[in-house]
């Protein structure tokens, strides 16, 4: 196995209106099988993906929002949310779902890996990634 890389998934699209959000989620789940360090960054309309209380039967589409809550079990350790993107949309951290993470080997656990960050930190996260997958 080659060295472990920092994979970052950058999500900038709202769910449902286009296929980007769902496709990103599919790729994250596939990538989880490869034992890499995986982080997600939600910015611009991507922050809408994490809004809790999504209820889709009325538009006859699959509600894939519950899947985000399982990502901690698939090796995703960081889910960053850009603060300015939330503010521009009248949203706060309280509007977002929470995602728990637990390491089976070390018993380390984090109640909520969804973290609201400022632009400088987001820039750092992007610059620090070995690979960025854009959706």
């Amino acid at each position: 196995m080659s060295e472990i890389k920092n994979f970052l998934y950058l999500n900038r699209r709202a769910p449902y209106g286009t296929i980007y959000a769902w496709e990103s989620l599919e790729v994250v789940l596939i990538g989880a099988a490869f034992d890499q360090k995986v982080s997600l960054l939600f910015a611009d309309d991507g922050v809408y993906q994490l809004v809790k209380g999504q209820d889709t039967p009325g538009i006859q589409m699959k509600n894939f929002s519950a899947t985000y809550r399982t990502l901690g079990d698939y090796g995703v350790r960081y889910m960053y949310v850009d603060r300015k993107s939330l503010q521009d949309r009248g949203l706060t951290e309280d509007d977002l779902m929470q995602v728990a993470w637990e390491d089976m080997e070390s018993d380390d656990a984090v109640d909520n890996i969804v973290e609201v960050i400022d632009s400088a930190k987001a820039a750092e996260v992007l610059a620090g990634a070995d690979v960025v997958f854009s959706f």
Binding site: G17, Y48, V51, G58, I59, D88, R89, G90, L91
Partner: protein
């Protein structure tokens, strides 16, 4: 009969709403659908544009699209009317043509 304008893009990603509001004549109606419904939510960067539009247009938003996106009714800007799919059909019937801003 006045026209019905539909906007299906997020106002924070595309300029479909801006163009609609710029070109829609007073008295015509605007229906927000799909990702366009985010414009109906209070506290966004485009709330002022919607409030301004309410002086010249009836503004509607498709309820099932808001619900799918986790946006409860109490987050909708006062004056924006919620419609369901049957209401969408009624709007089409009671207006002239439908102009889509994609």
């Amino acid at each position: 009969m006045s026209d019905l304008h539909t906007v299906n893009k997020s106002p924070l990603e595309k300029n479909a709403l801006d163009s609609c509001l710029r070109f829609a004549t007073a008295g015509s109606s605007i229906l927000l659908i799909e990702d366009g419904v985010y414009a109906a939510v209070k506290g966004t960067a485009v709330e002022g544009a919607i409030r301004g539009a309410l002086g010249k247009h009836k503004v509607y938003a498709l309820g099932p699209d808001l619900k799918a996106r986790g946006m409860k009714d109490d987050r909708v800007i006062d004056g924006v009317k919620l419609v369901d799919y049957a209401g969408f059909v009624d709007l089409v019937e009671t207006h002239g043509k439908v102009q889509a801003w994609l």
